[in-house]
Amino acid sequence: MKKNILCVSWGNKYKDYVEKLKTQLDKHCSYDFNFYCLTDNPQNKYDIQLPTHWDKHFIPKKNAFWAYRKCYMFYEDLFPSIEGDEFLFLDLDILIHNSIDSLFELDMKKPWIVRGWWNNIENCKKNFSKFSSTPLNSSVIRWNRGQLKKIYNEINQNSEFIFFTYPTIDNYFNHRWYNIHDEESGFLNPLPKKIVYSWYKGNMYPNDMQEKVLRKDHMICLFNNSTKDVYEHMHEISELNGLY
């Protein structure tokens, strides 16, 4: 059965990056895979219409970065045209440097998410109840069919409360589906070190924290930052290094 690699796109601003992501995947994934973009405006053959039933609970001014639309994909039955059981989600603002095949070779007893190893975990614990400093990042998520349905269900049943309370999707995952005090025991598994790093935040706290450094031995670079220059930076780096 083919593997499924998904991204989510809404609005037109970053639409070009869907194709760029697909190009990177063609280069760095040797498995046979289906590529899908869940979008509010389907135009290409890989596009699938995103549902909208949570829009009524979303408060744009309050939760500017709540990427709640990602969570529709956790209930795969909403997208009957997607077959197969293995799923990998990738954000559009990433650069892939090396083969991602190993993401399809993980032990799948539990789903996987990016653990931002650049975070000081004590700071995350200190700020837990203040809903800041989450150690998780949802730019890369690996799961098998049905494994994340619980998360979809919880959001679906508590949308009003969840969208009001949690400032970001990563914060929500950290509070409800991760164990910050015993990181191996949560519902979500943290991806190991030396796979994903951050262009703006570094790699591993405290000894490898240099920002804006390409780490070519890693798999994926995230551009997790609220700056408006993210895509310009991504473009410069990829051009310089022939990553696309």
Binding site: E122, K126, S129, N158, F161
Partner: protein
């Protein structure tokens, strides 16, 4: 209620509580220090004074987001003689630390007057089981940090218990996600219709604190 009677037992608990934080949960030390400041004590003593005029000796008290519960645990149990106080916190560290500050009140399982649980009652269903039946008092002194209390009350109660709620209009902290402009708005957010007390206090830190007591 103008002060806390610092008995040897309370002194012992609070000394051990702060030692525990320093040794086991050092990242929480700053927050614990903040929780013991002038304004924190002012607002809890205010709660004790006004609640005492309305009632005491409550059988089963649910505290939402009680944090470290040193002052509030003392006021509800030592001063107002409440039989059981359960603190529901989303932060595991706060649960553990609050148990240390209230160790004198946590005897054997059935005799315990103070319990603390890691739970988010806006989504969790276990309030009645943990509170050993009907709750007759619900306290939330941090409404500015969470969603409207009506949502929680509707989820857990057919008949509302007496509620004591505090909040503020101070919006400059990121985690003040639900400030209100007045005690009236606080009561309205919680769906309280019978108000026994409603007031505003300017705390030592200059912030307005609102409090309502009602059903």
């Amino acid at each position: 209620m103008d002060y806390i009677k610092l008995t040897p037992k309370i002194s012992h608990d609070w000394s051990r509580g702060t030692h525990y934080v320093t040794k086991e949960i050092p990242w929480a030390a700053e927050r614990v220090k903040f929780s013991m400041n002038h304004s924190q004590l002012q607002s809890k003593l205010w709660l004790g004074s006004e609640l005492k005029k309305i009632g005491d000796s409550f059988n089963s008290v649910a505290v939402i987001g009680g944090w470290y519960m040193h002052f509030l645990g003392y006021i509800l149990i030592d001063e107002l003689n409440c039989k059981l106080v359960c603190n529901y916190e989303i932060d595991r560290d706060a649960v553990l630390i609050s148990k240390k500050f209230n160790a004198r009140l946590t005897g054997s399982k059935l005799a315990s007057k103070y319990k603390s649980y890691e739970a988010n009652l806006f989504m969790s269903d276990f309030l009645r089981e943990r509170n050993r039946g009907e709750v007759d008092l619900l306290v939330n002194t941090s409404c500015e940090h969470m969603y409207h209390m009506k949502y929680l009350l509707d989820k857990h109660f057919d008949n509302k218990p007496l509620c004591v709620l505090q909040s503020t209009d101070y919006e400059d902290y990121d985690d003040h996600v639900n400030c209100v402009s007045s005690p009236d708005e606080l009561a309205e957010q919680a769906g309280l219709v019978d108000l026994y007390y409603s007031g505003t206090k300017v705390l030592e830190n200059g912030m307005n604190r609102f409090m309502v007591i009602g059903k």
